[in-house]
Symmetry: D2
Subunit: 409 residues, 4 copies
Amino acid sequence: MDLFTGSERAQRYIADLTAFMDERIYPAEAVYQEQMRAAGDPHHHPQILEDLKAQARERGLWNLFHPHPEWGPDLTNLEYAPLAEIMGRSPALAPEACNCAAPDTGNMEVFTLFGTEEHKQRWLEPLLAGTIRSAFAMTEPGVASSDATNIEMSMRRDGDDYLLDGRKWFASNALHANCKVLIVMGKTDPEAPPHRQQSMLVVPIDAPGVRVVRNLPVFGYQDREGHAEIVFDNVRVPSSDVLSGEGEGFAISQARLGPGRIHHCMRAIGMAERALELMCRRAESRTTFGRKLSERANIQDWIAEARIEIEQTRLLTLKAAWMMDTVGNKQARVEIAAIKVAAPNMALKIVDRAIQLHGAGGVTEDFPLASFWAHLRTLRLADGPDEVHKRSIARAELGRYREPRTPRA
Amino acid sequence: MDLFTGSERAQRYIADLTAFMDERIYPAEAVYQEQMRAAGDPHHHPQILEDLKAQARERGLWNLFHPHPEWGPDLTNLEYAPLAEIMGRSPALAPEACNCAAPDTGNMEVFTLFGTEEHKQRWLEPLLAGTIRSAFAMTEPGVASSDATNIEMSMRRDGDDYLLDGRKWFASNALHANCKVLIVMGKTDPEAPPHRQQSMLVVPIDAPGVRVVRNLPVFGYQDREGHAEIVFDNVRVPSSDVLSGEGEGFAISQARLGPGRIHHCMRAIGMAERALELMCRRAESRTTFGRKLSERANIQDWIAEARIEIEQTRLLTLKAAWMMDTVGNKQARVEIAAIKVAAPNMALKIVDRAIQLHGAGGVTEDFPLASFWAHLRTLRLADGPDEVHKRSIARAELGRYREPRTPRA
Amino acid sequence: MDLFTGSERAQRYIADLTAFMDERIYPAEAVYQEQMRAAGDPHHHPQILEDLKAQARERGLWNLFHPHPEWGPDLTNLEYAPLAEIMGRSPALAPEACNCAAPDTGNMEVFTLFGTEEHKQRWLEPLLAGTIRSAFAMTEPGVASSDATNIEMSMRRDGDDYLLDGRKWFASNALHANCKVLIVMGKTDPEAPPHRQQSMLVVPIDAPGVRVVRNLPVFGYQDREGHAEIVFDNVRVPSSDVLSGEGEGFAISQARLGPGRIHHCMRAIGMAERALELMCRRAESRTTFGRKLSERANIQDWIAEARIEIEQTRLLTLKAAWMMDTVGNKQARVEIAAIKVAAPNMALKIVDRAIQLHGAGGVTEDFPLASFWAHLRTLRLADGPDEVHKRSIARAELGRYREPRTPRA
Amino acid sequence: MDLFTGSERAQRYIADLTAFMDERIYPAEAVYQEQMRAAGDPHHHPQILEDLKAQARERGLWNLFHPHPEWGPDLTNLEYAPLAEIMGRSPALAPEACNCAAPDTGNMEVFTLFGTEEHKQRWLEPLLAGTIRSAFAMTEPGVASSDATNIEMSMRRDGDDYLLDGRKWFASNALHANCKVLIVMGKTDPEAPPHRQQSMLVVPIDAPGVRVVRNLPVFGYQDREGHAEIVFDNVRVPSSDVLSGEGEGFAISQARLGPGRIHHCMRAIGMAERALELMCRRAESRTTFGRKLSERANIQDWIAEARIEIEQTRLLTLKAAWMMDTVGNKQARVEIAAIKVAAPNMALKIVDRAIQLHGAGGVTEDFPLASFWAHLRTLRLADGPDEVHKRSIARAELGRYREPRTPRA
């Protein structure tokens, strides 16, 4: 397998997925907008998505993300990376069409690794089949979510059950029409050591006491899948629905975040590529003061810088994926932190310039750019703000100079 | 009058307006959100605005922008600048409460300078009274709006009337519940010299053939006042409703844009100040990894850079205002172009960092930051993209070296 | 007096100084280079400088900086600012020609304010006459100079004398052919409160035990005036040569730094203006791929951004100067810190782009740009690194939100 | 061979070279400075270099760059990349010690590919043996060197000879004590098609009429090897010393520049790594206001950003090297242009921040940082300014959208 060209199998998936994008996904974008507009409900589940899901499944482009051979095509992270990027070019449609959308992917991994047989039957199988969807409730409005030990939601033992009380927000997907289940992080033992206080519980979204109080807008967007603020009011959950065991919450969250972060970054690169393509096409088609925009040197600089920065970020993402494959997510944590900082910032810069090139149209729904920007901006905060990742990278770097010198090759 | 402290009169207005903001406007922000949410219509006109308008008028904080002594307090641009900035701190409420909102301000100036007696009676007086609102229809979706000579809307003479055919977009305010009139730019004579082909006509929004086809979202926001796409289908307008005379459209647009641009910039500085205030308060109130955010050196850098950049941009804006007052809008065009580039970019950077500091909350409706960002981003395109203004500045600068050397003091 | 046009007196000085630059200084630049090259000694004092000094004096362009009516023209900081800027356009010649060069200006102020009669007669008068020069020895190689309390040089009392032991560096001017005296900061009482431990002493450069061990290069430049590393080995100084009194060192250094910093910033703006002029002239004169560089949109962006940023920084500097004049150096400390950060960074960006436009020639001696860059870069460290100034600004800003809200107009 | 770990052979070279750096090169830096200072001649050839050359040769670390198996170890560009990077960490010593310094490497390739048997015997063999050095005279002071067709030097046929007249500058290495030969680009036929007018001639540096008129300083540095301005005054060169054939000059220059550019970039990455190491060590060792610099969040951000940007640029450089190896220099031209822009800019940013962290010492000779900066800055101009490379990249990118859509995987 070669880094730049990919394995033969990866090449085949890339070709198939690219064909699917060209033949089905891009043409469906206008249909999707029209169906959503007609429905008048931001959380409507439009028919076009079910059509696309059926087509993706038929083409064998289903659950591509799943690293477990029992449930998916058994691709490595390095093989999956270009596929996630390609899906990222149409982020509202392609990931869900291929059953590779966040946070379901992460949740499916968690159920695969830490779920009971019952969890697998009740939740994992329909998730893999694409008939239900799920959300992940970790972030809380009142505390800095960048430190998982800050979690305040109470999970108090009561006989064979836990009683959940607290408030979560940014539980993405919880307003999806098909969302049935939540994975919830909370505090089961405030007296335990800091990283052993938390547990993860599986909670049906219709459990008594679970109340979605609002959808959180993102720069004015009411996303279809939603970012829910959820109140948990004395919610009773059987202890058999603890994942992996009491006190394992922090460990699971660490395991979950590595792939989740890298998938986000791959899709961000796809958005950047799409924006660059739109930039080039627009620059070729518009004329001001007697010259095509594509002939102006400042626009050429933007295009060149975009190409350079996309290539650099893609390579860094591939390296992180390769390290996850070869030395494991934990050993790859500096590289994962690095792309988590690099990819959204790179993509934001390119999308912002593409908006500028599109004039007033760039901030509207007529191009995907404004939506790309808003969601990429959110990515600089989701799964930890840039500053927390930079802090980790710096501490690792500085650590090399606290011992006797170990020069880098 | 001193540049930094302002005239005595200006100081008094500043004090009065600041008191109004503290006592009425800021407390009204939550009420406004609640009334809008309850109405369920993005273009609803909430009661709180009428209450604020009555209070502003009572306090003598009404039509502050109007440079004409007959209609307003006769403030210079230099005196008005800090007032526009203060109103910009709460951009959804304060400018409209004080009857100083775009594009009405520009339209009122146009009616004052170029309107007939009938225009003044029918449109200017109710606009000054705040009982109706107006829109400006210039930009078109199909051409680069940065060059006014590109305008394609047809205004064909037919007896004593003109017949209008074409499509405009980003006609801001046209979806305001009280909007009654449009000022429309179009082409009356395609054979005339390039800057004499255009005329401006006054068109009631309910004229037969005028059809608002959609509201243009701004990064997902459906603004209350709206940014309309409007189709003009054989709209008949009497020739008495030409402003100033046939062929004067380009000249009026130039006269109109100077003050309009600087008002936008002043409000942008107000948004930046508000964002800096929010940044400081947040940094003081949140703790991560055992330290307040306000004690972290990277956050301190952000705060210091914000303070420096706001001060610089405010001074440049004041200088431009002072030049408009002393040598006229035309002689001040390089300075106006300079702040049109500097102010939105400065404010965007600060607001973006404030969002980062607010975590996930920063992209929601819980703080005004995401909305500030989206609208400031639009300002880098409205009234000409940055690149067009930079081009003008550069050409003026280069022009100094084409003649014998004229050194700058 | 008007901020933007200056007092009538200031206008006259501006005109006179501009004429002097055009008629004498710019033409002398090549002569200076030639005389220095011929001498083969980087610390040679060339005849052209004495010629220019005589001419400046004759034109009344002498000691313009000095705020004290007894010794200079009694200009305010606001009046002096544009003069310092103009001199900054030819930094190797004009400031010294007009007897306005650092660090002599700061030292002359210190002697004026804190010197004994003997100091004034022996050092101040010849400094004002331009017959001798002086240096300021504060920074030390072993400690972070950004915190004046870190100073380690020992000044031990011994009878009526002090004995000095320690090492200073970056004592600028100490290798000037005419340098005769040092003002030295050291620690007289390690047991006193932190800001009362330091004193400033006047030390003839030929005092026994004073040894200049090397000149410090600045990016390869061996500056004529030099940046000396000096060893003090048991140097005996009479107690009558303490400035102001034992324990006053820190207070004097604070008083000294305000004007010193702003003068540096004004000159930095002059360098930026010169670089912009060179950029425009070069862009007009060179052609690549069939078009003048001045017609390329990326170069136009550079020129426009330079113009905008220079204007903004100049205005901020004028405001800081005005505050020093009206509320005093101490009350103006945030504004002084702001320009100390803003001015060198602005100028560096512009000079760097000017270098880029000049191709390989830009890094050589054929244009003043490479030297400008190296010395402006040093200015981001001299008198405190950017980071220390930003920290001060941020702390002042945050302080406004620790008490009950005090909104800014 | 794996991209990230390298072939077994490459690994061995990396280990050997790293040991050589640690054991010989780094300790020699101070010795080198001392020998140069003692000599008092910037173009002195110090003994330490000959010692290091002998040691490198003994360790088999000699001519590593040479892709031709007859003359070197036959490493691919991908294998050589990390070695060039490691040598770049001590750019004044390591490349020359290993006989891998520019422009000799490029010249040796040219002699290998295009030289006659006599050229190989007379020039290539001693160059490979490290007993002589060479320079490359292409850039001219009077024209934009970014377009090779601008070359003006006249090479007029006269019987069996050519007569050379013109002026070159930035002929690096021409002032090296051992420099014996120049490869000179000039115009043999002004009437030929634009890319067939130029030829390359081999000219002994002591040929009558060749006169080095000055060394060009780089930001004040008088480099040991020198950057010569050379006048050619009726220099007679036999026609047998034309490389490859008359009219082949442009083609040779293209062939030569690919590897030359990538070697520069690899060394730039080495300088960036060295600067990051220095930054970390300094941050660990200095304390201000009661905390180590390494604990300040702004410094941590700098360190993290440096690590991210180095990794990204290294990967892009490796990809370019891999493409040169697999599809050839010509097909890799966009990637080569990309690193030519990315690497110096990345390294400059990191070195600049490292300077800032070192305070005043950072601009002196006490650390290699100021010299790194000056020479990296020059690299943004050498072999074409950034803007020319960006233009090429943009044109390639835009070209993809001029034909029927060819989507990118």
